[in-house]
């Protein structure tokens, strides 16, 4: 089914502080913008798939949103996989479209942890709270420490990832944090949970994004201006909690990337650019290793030296990712991939024919991969 389904429209809200806006309102704004971008009437939508808000999960959220949008979709609901769910829902929608279960699908996400509650990101890990084990950054720091001590990965190599992504975000007029970062500034950045510094950690943001999917054939007959073909997708889930994972430096991203690249008929060296889930810098490094861009353990040297910056070998997170554009867990990486494949990105990568996008959740518990192709 490679290329049979396309992303026909993308939409988003402003990112940052959006006080007084609930997630339903934010989702609707992003969906309205995505439908307008695709040139589709709301009533043509027959699938509505939503990742539940991280900071305030609710029962039957997919149906609550469908009601608020006046939709009675053929296919609908929410899927809890943390950040991986965006791409998993896109993949599910693509398969549903391919098999005649629906024709036009909306996939969306909204949350408001910045002006609402950020408790989800700072809470205790069960009975281990007695040992002081709290918060999402500490989980990633635990993976980072093992990687650094086992393979010699350095703080500066993590810093190079932040420097590249912040550079890209600074050029994005819609980014929440438009401030470049030098390696010297990174070294001065305070520890949050050693070995991770403040500048290794993503933003906390309110906002929403949405994408419209349909068959390539349907997009053609409807006259969609710039449909972006989906070339491949895959999933892989580590599942085990950090302490229980047999190898802290390996994750389900390996299976996810392999499945998606196989489906797309591409090898890592064929990939022109990437949008990699950057909740923390170590996540980028480990995902690039898992996808085969660098050998296992060698992600540190790979990420240094400007390789990930515009003009480098593998430009990534060209709108600023979670570190700079918005802390939203992942759908913004898909929309930037779409802008790149349309040739409409602010920091356009010239000649890029494909883009790999990663989404993941928990402490690398879940992973989902998407490969996009250039729009024809």
């Amino acid at each position: 089914m490679r290329g049979n389904v396309v992303i026909a429209g993308i939409g988003q809200t402003a990112f940052g502080k959006l006080p007084g806006r609930g997630t339903i309102s934010l989702n609707i704004e992003a969906c309205r913008n995505a439908l307008a971008d695709a040139g589709i009437e709301k009533d043509a939508v027959d699938a509505l798939l939503v990742k539940p808000p991280t900071s305030n999960p609710q029962f039957m959220y997919g149906q609550t949103l469908a009601e608020a949008m006046g939709l009675q979709p053929r296919v609908g609901g929410a899927w809890d996989q943390g950040g991986a769910a965006n791409i998993s829902l896109i993949a599910f929608a693509a398969m549903a479209i391919e098999h005649g279960q629906c024709d036009i699908a909306l996939v969306c996400y909204a949350d408001n942890p910045r002006t609402g509650s950020r408790h989800a990101y700072e809470k205790a890990w069960g009975e281990d709270a007695a040992y002081g084990w709290f918060g999402v950054p500490a989980g990633y720091a635990m993976l980072a420490r093992r990687h650094m001590d086992e393979f010699g990965t350095t703080s500066d190599q993590l810093g190079a990832i932040a420097v590249a992504i912040r550079k890209h975000g600074a050029a994005n007029p819609h980014a929440q944090l438009r401030k470049t970062l030098t390696l010297e500034q990174y070294r001065e950045s305070p520890w949050v949970v050693d070995p991770l510094r403040r500048d290794d950690c993503c933003l906390v943001s309110d906002g929403a994004a949405a994408v419209v999917l349909m068959s390539a054939q349907r997009a053609k007959s409807l006259g969609v201006k710039k449909p972006v073909p989906i070339l491949g997708f895959g999933q892989g889930h580590s599942s085990w909690d950090v302490a229980q994972r047999a190898d802290l430096t390996r994750t389900g991203a390996e299976n996810s990337g392999k499945t998606a690249l196989n489906m797309a008929g591409l090898r890592p060296q064929d990939i022109d650019m990437a949008q990699i889930y950057d909740c923390f810098t170590i996540t980028v490094l480990m995902t690039l290793e898992a996808y085969g861009f660098a050998p296992h353990g060698q992600g540190g040297p790979y990420c240094a030296g400007g390789r990930l910056e515009i003009g480098g070998e593998l430009p990534l997170n060209t709108a600023g990712g979670l570190l700079s554009e918005t802390g939203m867990p992942g759908l913004q990486l898909v929309t930037e991939g779409v802008r790149q494949m349309r040739g409409e990105a602010t920091l356009q990568v010239k000649g890029a024919e494909n883009c790999v996008v990663s989404n993941q959740g928990g402490i690398m518990h879940t992973h989902s991969t998407l490969v996009l192709g250039q729009c024809e």
Binding site: Y131, G132, F134, G135, M142, V193
Partner: protein
């Protein structure tokens, strides 16, 4: 002074009660499957390898190694905010099971795979399975 009333004491369940009771008596216990001999922590009702029920309890030797550790510089909880910086570690017992713990050592001397020895300590009246360099 740390306010003991703030301590996030474990919400002990029926499944984890024997674990915490044993620690209170000075022993670190883990579970082993009576069907496939797989060993694990934290306590659970079924073996995650073969799905058999009713695992047995065994006492750990206390020998362990340090898998990874972090040092908190941000207080996510009032009880621990006054203790910054403090470490949290992933520790692997010689028998295989892994757990979240703290290592009683200067942070500069910690390194992955170093040998550790169980050093049970009381915190706000709760016995915790901490470790010290062996």
């Amino acid at each position: 002074m740390t306010n003991e009333t703030l301590f996030p004491a474990p919400q002990v369940s029926e499944v984890t009660a024997p674990y915490w009771r044993a620690l209170d008596e000075g022993r670190l216990m883990f579970q082993r499957c009576t069907s496939c001999e797989h060993a694990w922590l934290p306590p659970r009702g079924e073996c995650p390898r073969c799905l058999a029920r009713e695992p047995r309890w065994e006492t750990a030797s206390g020998n362990a190694r340090l898998v990874s550790w972090v040092v908190y510089h941000h207080g996510y909880h009032d009880y621990f905010a006054r203790r910054l910086p403090y470490n949290v570690a992933v520790v692997e017992l010689a028998e295989g099971p892994r757990l979240i713990s703290n290592v009683k050592a200067v942070h500069d001397m910690l390194c992955i795979d170093m040998r550790l020895k169980l050093a049970i300590e009381r915190e706000a009246g709760v016995a915790l399975a901490r470790f010290a360099p062996a």
